[in-house]
Amino acid sequence: MAEAYVSVQDLDFHYPDGTPALRGVNLEIGTNEFVALIGQNGSGKTTLGKCLNGLLKPSAGAVLVDGLDTRSRGIVKKMATRVGYVFQNPDHQLFNNTVFKEIAYGPRNLGMDEAETRARVYEAARVAGVSESIFDEHPFFLTKGLRQRVAIASILAMRPRVLIVDEPTTGQDFRQSLEVMNFLERLWREEGHSIVIVTHEMSLAARYSRRTVLLGHGQVLADGPTREVLSQTDTLARSDVLPTQVTRLAQRLTDLGVRPDVILVEELVEEMVRVHQRHRRAVG
């Protein structure tokens, strides 16, 4: 694991009515990771995401970002350049009447002058795939996928090291989902960000994330390389998560020699070809 940039220490969180949402969570996230947070509804994954950038403050324990405690005073501005949070519904975060103003809002708020703000807007828009031709349009009239890109661009304009994206593919069709995920992968691979996705889509977590954290009932049930976590069928079941079809299929073939930790279609094919050839040699 990379050196910790975000450090979650014995974190408890309960909502104002007393409902516990997180209990004793310990977690470290480095500067260039691709992490999936998974778990059933109510498992605490969105709450944890919001604790990582100080949107929610610990009830007990601590969250340190770049050495800063998220409970300290004046943390909001400091957090903006460190950990950005993109809401599941981009409409919860878009409130300006043009795309340009939306993306410029963060840098302006951080006290940047107009020249620097413009530079940041153009850069963030380019990286997020938001064309200059829509800078004057009202975000409300864009497609959901484009609104989400604008939401991401508006966070990227503050250049946070870590980007948390809650359910990046909800309501999108498969092609649009792949576009969003490929984009996040590029931010991770080429721009050096850490990406944390909160997701229900196991096939996308399997393909894109390198590390997976499984939450259940407010606790970390598993944390490790995605392949390991997504093939622990029994552990996943504790948070009502079903492995992907290929993993389930592979696990019905282990008695014939197939590895149980297959998480991608092409891996299962490769594995079946291997077992088939070995079998043929043995017979022949």
Binding site: Q40, N41, T143, K144, G171, Q172, D173, F174, R175, Q176, H200, S203, D240, V241, T244, Q245, V246, R248, L249, R252, L253, L256, G257, V258, V265, E266, L268, V269, M272, V273, V275, H276, H279, R280, A282, V283, G284
Partner: protein, 287 residues
């Protein structure tokens, strides 16, 4: 066409352009849906899938402005000549967002609302609620506010409200797209039960793995064009075409398409999970 007589839905030469749009939402659609059939409708966002459901229900053209050409029949009757009540009795529509159709303070009032509008008396209403609860049991939620439920419960209420009107065709527009995984499971269970009834079911759904377990036939909608429906086995066998169209075929079908390319399998790829397990064991057992 089955022995049951005329088709549930018959669309001929239909094109529809919404007011103030330059491109038609649907163009040159010919589609026949048999009585009792379970039809899956798939395709990218904005391709015309929802519009197709509105057209079948007759909401288009009666509640929308636009340019209409062609003919749509429900059980042999031209929808443009049917009253709203007649259409509601023939085909009911369930939206992606269940809240979009709630108006009452409790689940029970919500269920009863449409039935009172039909002018049914108390006894008839009781009877209908009883029949609905055989498919979707909501009694323990009757006193709750429909807004105060989980996503899956909300959608079950929304489906029950439509079922209570006793339409012969049930149209569902991405009924699981806005709810969490547990809710999705509840809704797919409802769809499984509906499959065993006499209802004709048309469901727009992105999750092809779930759809594969339910649909008799599936049709692809792309850029306003509706391709002829294919039997599920034939449809899901076209793995490359589905990927090309921006869809995610069931992983087991993808796996067998690749195995076929590698020369380890021939024949139509299994597209449901259990048959895929058997076929895979077969492949590995007979080197």
């Amino acid at each position: 066409m089955g022995a049951a007589g005329r088709p549930a839905v018959a669309i001929a030469g239909l094109s529809w352009t919404y007011e103030r749009r330059s491109e038609p939402a649907l163009r040159d659609v010919d589609l026949t849906i048999d009585q009792g059939e379970f039809l899956g409708v798939v395709g990218p966002n904005e391709s015309g899938k929802s519009t197709l459901l509105y057209v079948i229900q007759g909401l288009i053209p009666s509640n929308f402005n636009g340019i209409w050409r062609g003919r749509v029949e429900l059980f042999g009757k031209d929808t443009s000549a049917m009253s709203g009540l007649e259409r509601a009795a023939a085909a009911g529509l369930v939206f992606a967002d269940p809240e979009a159709q709630f108006t009452a303070m409790t689940v029970e009032e919500e269920l009863v609302f449409g039935l009172e509008n039909l002018g049914l008396d108390h006894r008839q209403i009781e009877l209908r609620l009883q029949r609905v609860s055989d498919l979707i049991d909501l009694e323990e939620l009757y006193d709750r506010s429909p807004y105060d439920l989980s996503g899956g419960q909300k959608q079950r209420v929304a489906i029950a409200c439509v079922l209570a009107m006793e339409p012969r065709v049930l149209l569902l527009d991405e009924p699981t797209s806005m709810i969490d995984p547990r809710g999705k499971k509840e809704i797919f269970e409802v769809l499984r039960r509906l499959k065993d009834t006499d209802h004709t079911v048309v469901v727009v759904e992105h999750n092809l793995e779930e759809l594969a377990a339910l649909a008799d036939r599936v049709c692809l909608v792309e850029g306003g064009r509706v391709r002829p429906p294919l039997p599920a086995g034939e449809f899901f066998a076209r793995v490359d075409e589905l990927i090309e169209a921006g869809l995610q075929p069931p992983q087991v079908a993808q796996t067998f398409a690749e195995l076929a390319r590698a020369g380890l399998y021939d024949g139509p790829p299994p597209y449901r999970f259990e048959p895929a397990v058997s076929a895979a064991r077969e492949v590995l057992s007979h080197g």
